[in-house]
Point group: C2
Chain length 411, copies 2
């Protein structure tokens, strides 16, 4: 049921709109431009920018003389006024990203995720590392807005619990959000990894193609972050974004779910490594399983280097993967009518030269594609730490970005 | 990019919120209850209800004495103050539904869609039938808010064009919206059929399970209407909701798209009829194609009657269809994390006794299902005319319902 409109929230919403405008204008904006772009009155815009300057979030830059009138002072984000820490818990690696208010990465760090099932130990390590990052950068704790943590689903988001994610043994119902908050003393927000990645894209890249898009996350596993009408789609229990069991190959191997040819079972790095091993393209001393993280990583790199030679055998493997991913993408585009798919994640950059063009061609020429507009297939502009950066952006987003839902009176 | 908040729209938004509250309370609401439920001040709520009464949309009913204070006057929707006409263009049948302001069907009508490709003739027929319905009900034209038309996708919604829907020969780029508006003199809104059906569900049933749901439309073809956070998901070009090419059976027949076992090719009525014919359960003089609409309709009914006997052969067909639909539903639930699937459409009611329980069981026990919450599998409370009713509700929705997007300043 809709609730009435919350007049008290209008000021905060408009403040978030203006901060968002200034944040997205690296060359600065004058007060007149802020008013024009926001659609607010000059007086309202001016009052809000004053508050933002007083709070240290925005600073006045150089004066711009454009005509006979009063010179215009450019407003810029004061990026070093606030910070957040994003953490990405992956079965293989824990990634940390310290972000400033502009969403720029000030520092980052990676550590191998312990394979022994010890959530309490992992959380203690995380808290220690967060403190160490802030100390190394000499950032006082009061300038930190909070910590965002991205974790594989399924999650119980309302309680802040990680449920039983695949490949993280011993992580059954772990209260990650509250435990990390207690260990660090910071407010913590928990988000599904693919949703965090989509938030990073929204926050860092504001191009016109970013209203309806899907973020294809290519890591140890795959997933899809969804953005509809410029807001992330989280779903009824905040677990949206699982695409692993979309069937894409009728004669594919039997998945753990009992169906054949599920995309999440076919296109992940350890499967590509297994196919390349079976074809004799690369070699290993013993069979490689998905749990052999280091071997998978090394052999995957070997394969992607070989694939650049475009020999028939590696090309067959690459085209198979491109076809499988494209079919899943077409199912998603048909369902949601998104017009852009952004690809990223820890394993993406290595295989992208071989895959991206093929996927672009296959998706846009697929006879099963329903929408009549072109589907843009793009690389993420963000690096391999996209989920950690997204987790940090999540804190920025919750603290600062305008959400129309905030305009409704809460129950 | 977000734009600022439109203060001028607040009044209209709050008016829509209050009208929505009164509409959803068939037993009436007092002014105090309206203020409490909307979260608005007593004065604001009272001013708005006064405007609604003056405009004839709301009427004052009996007075309620609940204590020593002033008796409370109950406010009720004046359902017969405004009307809309919903039209559903289907390859088989054109359905008309005259709705009052409460979304109740005042009158309806069905006509066979001409098989000859003649869009202009069909549009002229529609205009004629709309006038005839209004005349038969003695409804003056000035009480009609507009006409909503639901059509199969793909659509060019911005231009109001129907593109090349399957099974509607000759309907390549037909300006349906503007042509029908010209022929009737009413404003016309065009919507994809499955989205219209989802709007009908939102409008008519406001239960707690209606925030994140998918409407499975079972007609000559299948489709899925999506509601996320209580608003319909239309997508970048308003063509969201196509699920036909989700693969669900590895050894299924080859679809027109070249893949095997696409759900939209497997579970539609003419395929069930063909399977029942092949199994000797029912008989026809000649082979039945999807274009033999009358034969498919009659034989489908014959099969569904037989299927109630639960013999081994019909049970095998039914369980095959239930499995195929369930697998597609699981893909959609995993992707979007909806918690409810509502089933309806012209062919649904006949096969529902055989299918609904099986689908409920299969979806909720599927090893591929990711979210941990139960998935509610329900029948639509609306009849077989759901898309026509939804098209009418679309006009009500656009005219009356609160949308947070209306709070943003338009470009």
């Amino acid at each position: 049921m809709r609730r009435g409109h919350n007049l008290g929230a209008v000021g905060e919403f408009n403040q978030a709109v203006i901060l968002d405008l200034i944040r997205r204008a690296p060359d600065g904006l004058s007060r007149v431009e802020v008013a024009q772009a926001s659609g607010l009155s000059a007086q309202t815009a001016s009052n809000i920018t004053r508050r933002l300057i007083d709070g240290g979030l925005v600073r006045e830059g150089e004066r711009l003389i454009t005509g006979p009138g009063k010179p215009r002072t450019l407003l810029r984000l004061n990026a070093s006024s606030r910070y957040t820490v994003g953490v990405h818990l992956d079965p293989t690696v824990i990634t940390y990203a310290l972000l400033d208010l502009a969403g720029s990465v000030v520092a980052d760090h990676r550590a191998r995720t312990p394979t022994a099932p010890d959530p309490a130990g992992v959380i203690a390590d995380m808290a220690h590392e967060i403190s160490a990052i802030l100390e190394r950068q000499s950032i006082p704790r009061e300038q930190v807005l909070g910590v965002g943590i991205a974790a594989p689903g399924p999650l119980d988001a309302s309680r802040g619990n990680v449920l039983d994610p695949p490949m993280l043994d011993g992580w059954d119902v772990v209260p990650l959000r509250d435990a990390l908050s207690q260990a660090t003393g910071f407010p913590v927000v928990l988000e599904k990894d693919v949703t965090a990645a989509a938030i990073a894209e929204l926050w860092v890249d504001s191009g016109p193609r970013r209203d309806n898009f899907a973020f294809f996350y290519y890591g140890t596993g795959i997933g899809i972050g969804l953005v509809i009408n410029h807001e992330v789609l989280r779903g009824a229990s905040d677990n949206a974004g699982d695409m692993g069991h979309i069937m894409v190959q009728a004669d594919g191997p039997v998945c753990s779910c009992g169906r054949r040819g599920c995309v999440g079972d076919l296109v992940v790095p350890h499967r590509i490594v297994q196919r390349a091993l079976a074809a004799g393209l690369i070699a290993a001393d013993s069979p490689v399983d998905r749990a052999d993280f280091d071997d998978v990583d090394r052999l995957f790199t070997e394969f992607t280097v070989l694939a650049m030679r475009h020999d028939a055998v590696s090309r067959e493997i690459v085209m198979g993967v491109a076809t499988q991913i494209s079919r899943a993408i077409v199912s998603i585009v048909n369902l949601l009518d998104v017009d852009t798919i952004v690809f990223g994640g820890p394993f993406w950059r290595r295989i992208e030269p071989a895959l991206l063009g093929a996927i672009r061609h296959l998706v846009n020429t697929d006879p099963a594609l329903i929408p009549k507009h072109p589907i843009h297939i793009e690389n993420s502009g963000i690096g391999e730490d996209v989920a950690a950066i997204g987790a940090g952006c999540l804190v920025l987003d919750q603290s600062l970005a305008p959400h129309t839902s905030a305009l409704l009176i809460s129950r």
